[in-house]
């Protein structure tokens, strides 16, 4: 079963720059409703329900991988489709998924090797739609977010989102 796999297998170390799983910091009334999956994925609180590309004047125009990915690139996220669930040497790893025509969603890989996410204004969680922990977002139960788009790297201090 996927959840039983060692999420750190094949990695000599997870860089300390990789974010901690700290839901208690996000799940408070002053933060939780105003920050979404993009805020949480990038580990960047704006209190604006940030949208890919909006800060760069290049917000996505449709709800497809082909539209949302370049919008995130405009915010200075780095596309890394070959990351294969491995943490980068610099920055941290996020994953973009899309429900075509419906919505997009982001996951982020944590220091413990597992992934977590913040669905919209709801609390941060480390579980998928089946209640399982997430060693790999490609195989997680993502509900309507059926399309796995890509892995991307967030370089701390480089990105600008709003």
């Amino acid at each position: 079963m996927e959840a039983a796999e060692d999420p750190l297998a094949g990695e000599s170390a997870v860089p300390l720059r990789t974010p901690l799983y700290e839901p208690a910091w996000w799940n408070v009334p002053a933060i939780q409703p105003y920050n979404n999956c993009y805020n949480y994925g990038t580990n960047y609180r704006t209190n604006t329900f940030a949208q890919p590309g909006r800060a760069a004047g290049a917000q996505y125009a449709s709800l497809t991988c082909a539209a949302v990915k370049p919008a995130a690139v405009a915010d200075a996220l780095i596309d890394d489709p070959g990351a294969d669930n491995k943490c980068p040497n610099e920055g941290h790893l996020v994953a973009l998924v899309v429900g075509p025509g419906y919505d997009y969603h982001w996951f982020r890989k944590g220091r413990n090797g597992y992934w977590s996410h913040k669905p919209g204004g709801t609390p941060v969680t480390n579980l998928d739609n089946s209640g399982a922990t997430i060693p790999d977002p490609r195989t997680a139960d993502r509900g309507p977010y059926t399309d796995f788009c890509t892995f991307m790297v967030v370089m701390h201090g480089h990105i600008r989102i709003n």
Partner: protein, 109 residues
């Protein structure tokens, strides 16, 4: 008296909200009065996808409906009632303007 309705359905995009007509609010109030109280645990919503709908009155009263249970929060108290036919939820979602909700949500009703 004004009220806002909405659906908890998205993650990246803001959830859709819309103003509720007074006549729809009156219908929902009457529906609420017709429902049986319950002490059962609230249905578990999925992490991703549709998680229910809501109505917030200007005065702060708030209803949430999901999978046959309607919950009213007002003045620090929370009451739940059973709505096996999901009529409350249907009325709220059908009050959404065209294009506000994903088609599959409407079509699945």
């Amino acid at each position: 008296m004004t009220a806002t309705a909405g659906a908890s359905v998205f993650s990246g995009r803001p959830d859709p909200t819309w103003p509720l007509l007074e006549e729809t609010l009156e219908r929902l109030r009457a529906l609420w009065e017709s429902l049986e109280p319950t002490q059962e645990p609230l249905p578990m919503a999925p992490v991703l996808g549709y998680r229910g709908c809501f109505v917030v009155e200007e005065e702060g009263r708030e209803w949430r409906a999901f999978e046959g249970t309607v919950t009213l929060t007002a003045a620090g108290r929370r009451l739940s009632r059973l709505d096996g036919a999901r009529e409350f939820e249907r009325v709220v979602l059908e009050s959404a303007p065209g294009g506000a909700l994903p088609p599959e949500l409407i079509g699945g009703w």
